[in-house]
């Protein structure tokens, strides 16, 4: 059974750590990541043949995203750092096993998610289970239905928007947050997210739908025109 705890405010030394504290506001240069994606396989091939600089380039490229991921899962900076470090070291040790049938980044995210989950389970065992069945579909119907107007996120300053996003995702129950983070932030496929979390594909889909609806409803409070902004 996969168990973990997301009471981030009570973990560790009692410091309150926002899982998405490292989340920035929308990036206008997403093209750069697509360019980076195109030469990823060249770097991986070079690293596999012993090019240390190529592996270091891969680490530099993904360290921020992997740290964000491990922070999101553990909610604890020390654990997040350890999980990130071990994920990179393990990926180097097992690079020869990477077959290239998925992106290197996807493979790395799965290793990092596993490292982070292990630390979470150690720190707070039996706090919640990812295996728990979710409630029926009856309560899925959205209640908050107000117009957001065009570009609602542009009505907020960068730092304010960052706080809003951190706040709403932190409020999300861990079993939904995990799935949302892997699918919609890290952009893993449903199958990869299911495999990383030890869940079935239907369970991931069901949790993702709920996570998305819950986040929409939480953002509605800020984005509705004439709302609490």
């Amino acid at each position: 059974m996969l168990c973990a705890n997301f009471k981030v405010e009570t973990i560790g030394e009692g410091r309150k750590l926002s899982p998405l504290i490292f989340l920035s506001t929308p990036n206008p240069h997403r093209l750069a990541s697509k360019v980076a994606r195109e030469d990823e396989h060249l770097l991986v091939a070079a690293a596999k043949s012993g090019d240390v600089a190529a592996f270091e380039e891969l680490v530099s490229r993904y360290e921020r995203k992997i740290f964000r991921l491990t922070m999101n899962i553990t909610g604890n900076r020390e654990d997040a750092e350890d999980a990130m470090q071990d994920a990179f070291l393990k990926s180097f040790s097992h690079l020869k096993d990477f077959q290239g049938d998925s992106r290197f980044y996807t493979w790395l995210v799965r290793i990092a998610a596993n490292e982070a989950l292990m630390r979470l389970r150690k720190r707070r065992p039996n706090q919640f289970s990812l295996d728990e069945p979710i409630a029926s579909d009856e309560d899925l119907m959205p209640r908050e239905l107000q117009d957001w107007g065009p570009g609602p996120e542009q009505r907020f300053a960068q730092t304010e928007m960052r706080e809003i996003l951190s706040g709403v995702i932190e409020q999300l129950e861990p079993e939904y947050r995990m799935v949302f983070v892997l699918r919609d932030i890290e952009e893993l496929s449903t199958e990869d997210a299911a495999s990383a979390l030890g869940l079935s594909v239907p369970a991931v889909k069901s949790r993702l739908l709920r996570a998305r609806l819950k986040l929409r409803e939480k953002l509605n409070r800020y984005f509705q025109q004439g709302g609490a902004n």
């Binding site: 506001t25 921020r64 990130m84 470090q85 040790s93 932030i185 998305r212």
Partner: protein
């Protein structure tokens, strides 16, 4: 198709995982149902806002420790 059935398929619709007939049925529903249209548009926007976020720089002390550990490991591996 009622609103509850539409909401149940919302993620599949957004992710482009519905077959042609089901997709058309949802699109027809959205044309007539303002509430469901609002929900699908806002859910797409929610995903887009989170998805478009880039992480900020790694704290410098964390980065230094990561690269020190990495160099030690790489040194071990190449000797």
């Amino acid at each position: 198709m009622n609103c509850q059935a539409v909401i149940h398929e919302l993620s599949n619709f957004i992710d482009g995982e519905l077959d042609g007939a089901m997709k058309l049925e949802l699109e027809r529903h959205f044309k007539d149902c303002e509430d469901c249209r609002l929900v699908v548009d806002q859910t797409k926007k929610t995903i887009e806002i989170f998805c478009d976020c880039e992480p900020v720089e790694l704290p410098s002390d964390v980065r230094v420790r990561l690269h020190d550990a990495l160099r030690r490991k790489l040194k071990e591996a190449t000797h």
